[in-house]
């Protein structure tokens, strides 16, 4: 018995030592030598409620990388994705994140969808000196509170999205008096409302907020909230909810006629529209967290965009929603960033530090309008909003009366803090001729 124990311990130790020596013996890549492949870590939700975003985005990543590799990759280097499920929870995500970086040698991470997860991974990426592209999370505080060398965001943040929503609302319905909000009770729901409210108060101070409701995340029933809203009769009802929460809220509100008496503003509803189908009525203001839409007023017929949409539909049997566009944008940015760094490095393969440097100031074009990454790492992504309308050929309402708001007009300038900045907004912003309106 005793002998066995000792023996197995020896064996185990031996294996460990062998493993360790292998680890240390792995030859460090010489600077400038082209790697065999570029391992790209991608965190996305495969489980949990946010998998409504994660699953289509993962399909998009696979589709894009297949095509990209077939076309030669980055200077001949192919991209190999490593997917991590964000739905496991913050601690498991962090463990997996570090495992792929520290063990599998991943140098570039696309992370994350959830703002909470972005908060967790950003400081770690900086410590580990790995390029982290925040591809879908909205928290603006992250890049405002601290200057990161290795962390960039390839899409807009919550400020851009919310201010643009206020702009659209005020331009299409300038004369409303009361507003109520029903948001999910977590950081996104709370923070997005704070930005929206402060912006609205700066641009139209006479609006009265009649109810601020924060039902819990994942609530299955909004009956009481809807009764209360029917009693209050606000002109406008805002909800930045998404996924199952938004679906349930829209369904129950629709069933009880609330959507007839109030104007609904749902900045994330583009991602729910196809699922909701006829349950989403006409005349609702919806947005897509960026300027992406498969019926993009400028780019819907552009060959690259059109081909992507068709292929994506064939693959997943649904239209691409905003996280799909965000994923493609982030992948394109990584590719372009590498190419830019290679050029600056006289054709040699760049270090992670050089790529991270190249990402700042990069201008790239995903499937829709070009995005510029500022020196603080924040991407400037224009915002597209519209109003739902039924149209022949689609089993769900699509956007019409679309408007594209340029990002720099509605984004906190570098070095300023958003809570103060939105309060300084002037109604003049509504008159800017750079806001493009597409009638029909």
């Amino acid at each position: 018995m005793k002998g066995n124990h000792v023996k197995s311990l020896h064996a185990r130790l031996g294996a460990l030592v062998a493993g360790m020596s292998l680890l240390f013996a792995a030859p460090a890549l010489a600077q400038g030598a082209k790697p065999a492949e570029l391992k790209l870590g991608i965190t996305t939700f495969s489980s949990g409620p946010a998998s409504v975003f994660g699953v289509p985005a993962k399909a998009a990543a696979e589709q894009w990388i297949e095509e990209f590799n077939a076309a030669g990759g980055i200077n001949g280097v192919k991209i190999t994705p490593v997917f991590i499920d964000e739905g496991l929870g913050g601690d498991k995500l962090l463990t997996e994140y570090r495992r792929v970086v520290q063990e599998q040698g991943v140098k570039v991470m696309l992370s994350a969808i959830s703002s909470g997860n972005c908060n967790i991974v950003a400081p770690v990426a900086e410590d580990l000196k790995v390029l982290n592209v925040m591809w879908d999370c909205g928290t603006e505080k992250l890049l405002e509170d601290r200057r990161y060398k290795y962390v960039v965001r390839t899409q807009a943040n919550a400020v851009t999205e919310m201010v643009a929503t206020v702009v659209y609302l005020l331009k299409t319905k300038p004369d409303f008096k009361t507003i109520a909000v029903v948001n999910q009770d977590y950081a996104w729901g709370r923070d997005s409302w704070e930005i929206f409210r402060n912006t609205l108060q700066a641009l139209k101070p006479d609006v009265k907020v009649v109810a601020e409701l924060f039902p819990k995340f994942g609530a299955p029933d909004f009956s009481t909230e809807i009764s209360r809203l029917q009693a209050l009769k606000p002109d406008v009802i805002l909800s930045t909810s998404w996924g199952g929460d938004l679906d349930t809220f829209v369904r129950q509100a629709g069933q009880r006629g609330l959507m007839k008496s109030s104007l609904f503003v749902l900045p994330l509803a583009e991602s729910s529209a196809e699922r909701l189908g006829a349950a989403l009525p006409e005349g609702v203001i919806i947005g897509a967290r960026g300027d992406h839409y498969f019926l993009h007023p400028e780019l819907k017929d552009e060959p690259k965009h059109k081909a992507f949409v068709e292929k994506f539909r064939a693959r997943t049997r649904s239209y691409p929603i905003y996280p799909v566009y965000h994923m493609v944008a982030a992948l394109q940015a990584v590719a372009d960033g590498h190419n830019k760094a290679i050029k600056a490095n006289k054709g040699q393969w760049p270090s992670t530090e050089q790529v991270a440097g190249a990402m700042h100031g990069l201008e790239f074009k995903g499937l829709t309008r070009a995005v510029k990454i500022r020196e603080d790492g924040q991407g400037l992504e224009d915002q597209l909003l519209g109003m739902t309308r039924n149209r022949a050929g689609y089993a769900f309402p699509v956007m019409e009366n679309m408007m594209i708001v340029p990002a720099d007009l509605v984004t906190t300038p570098v070095g300023q803090k958003s809570p103060e900045w939105v309060k300084t907004l002037k109604p003049d912003v509504l008159k800017s001729d750079r806001i493009k309106v597409y009638a029909k």
Binding site: P49, D221, R228, G244, Q255
Partner: protein, 301 residues
């Protein structure tokens, strides 16, 4: 808070209480007969909901009449109750019947974990729903507020109907009396010639059916997403423990109490909405350690 608002809150609380009662009733029935607190009960709720939505979507596409849509909901609950309930009871619980109650409870916890992933493998992650039946049944107004007939009338009516039906069945039918006998004392009942095994299985399937029925009736108004059963478990636990384990009428009253308190909280202190059922539970258990309606007797149904 005005009287009018109180009435509105009551209306909303009613429908919620109806669903909560159905699920809790299943849980308390199973406990009464089997002595097992079934953690997997939330999964039955979720499976019932998903199956009902799947059936109802299919029926709605075929332009089925309203009664068929309603029947589809019940059918879904029946299928889930019989299949999953049967698998749970025969495949799992019987094997641990003689083990420590802690182990029995843990086995249902394990089953819950397995069902959670199974449900995602079957139905995926996108929200599921079928609202057709709600719009078919139409709306009506109270105090200028529009309600759906489905939520305000149908769900409470079904819940109350099930309550009366179960009371009748337990008191007046042979099977019901056998169930009560087993609940009283399994060994004595067996000695009297009752097949306690069979009765246990039937009661378990009935309980599973009620849990699934709660989910099936919720399906037309809510969106089914992964994790939908998780909250239902603790909520129905709190109803059952507050009422007293095995108390049918108690569960009805407690579900109403919790439903009403919750919607009053949305109007007055929305911060406490989620905590309300548990605050009630703590308060009740501190004053009456065995629940509100438990009386000093062996009988649990």
């Amino acid at each position: 808070m005005s009287f009018e608002l109180l009435m509105l809150a009551a209306a909303d609380g009613f429908s919620y209480a109806g669903l909560l009662f159905l699920v809790s009733l299943g849980l308390t029935l199973i406990f009464g007969v089997q002595g097992i607190l079934n953690v997997a009960h939330g999964s039955l709720y979720a499976f019932g909901g998903y199956t009902a939505a799947t059936l109802a979507i299919w029926a709605a596409e075929k332009q089925a009449p309203t009664w068929v849509l309603l029947a589809a909901l019940v059918l879904a609950a029946l299928v889930v109750g019989v299949i999953l309930g049967g698998i749970l009871e025969i495949g799992l619980l019987r094997r641990v019947q003689d083990k420590d109650p802690v182990l029995q409870l843990l086995v249902t916890f394990a089953a819950f974990l397995i069902f959670e992933d199974l449900q995602r493998l079957i139905w995926g992650v996108s929200p599921y729903s079928s609202t057709e039946v709600v719009s078919r049944l139409g709306n009506f107004d109270i105090f200028g507020i529009t309600y759906t007939a489905y939520q305000l009338l149908l769900i409470p009516a079904v819940a109350f109907g099930v309550y009366l039906g179960l009371l009748f069945a337990l008191r007046r039918t042979r099977l019901g009396k056998q169930i009560i006998a087993v609940t009283h004392h399994r060994e004595v009942a067996t000695a009297l010639g009752i097949n306690a095994r069979k009765i246990g299985l039937i009661a378990f399937i009935m309980g599973a059916f009620l849990g699934a029925l709660g989910g099936a009736l919720a399906a037309p108004t809510t969106s089914l997403v992964p994790g939908v059963g998780t909250d239902m478990i603790v909520l129905s636990f709190s109803v059952v423990a507050t009422a007293g384990l095995g108390q049918i009428t108690g569960a009805l009253i407690t579900a109403l109490l919790i439903g009403l308190a919750r919607s009053v909280a949305v109007y007055t202190v929305p911060e406490l909405e989620v905590a309300v059922p548990y605050l009630i539970m703590v308060a009740v258990l501190l004053v009456r350690p065995n629940g509100l309606f438990t009386v000093a007797q062996a009988r649990r149904i």
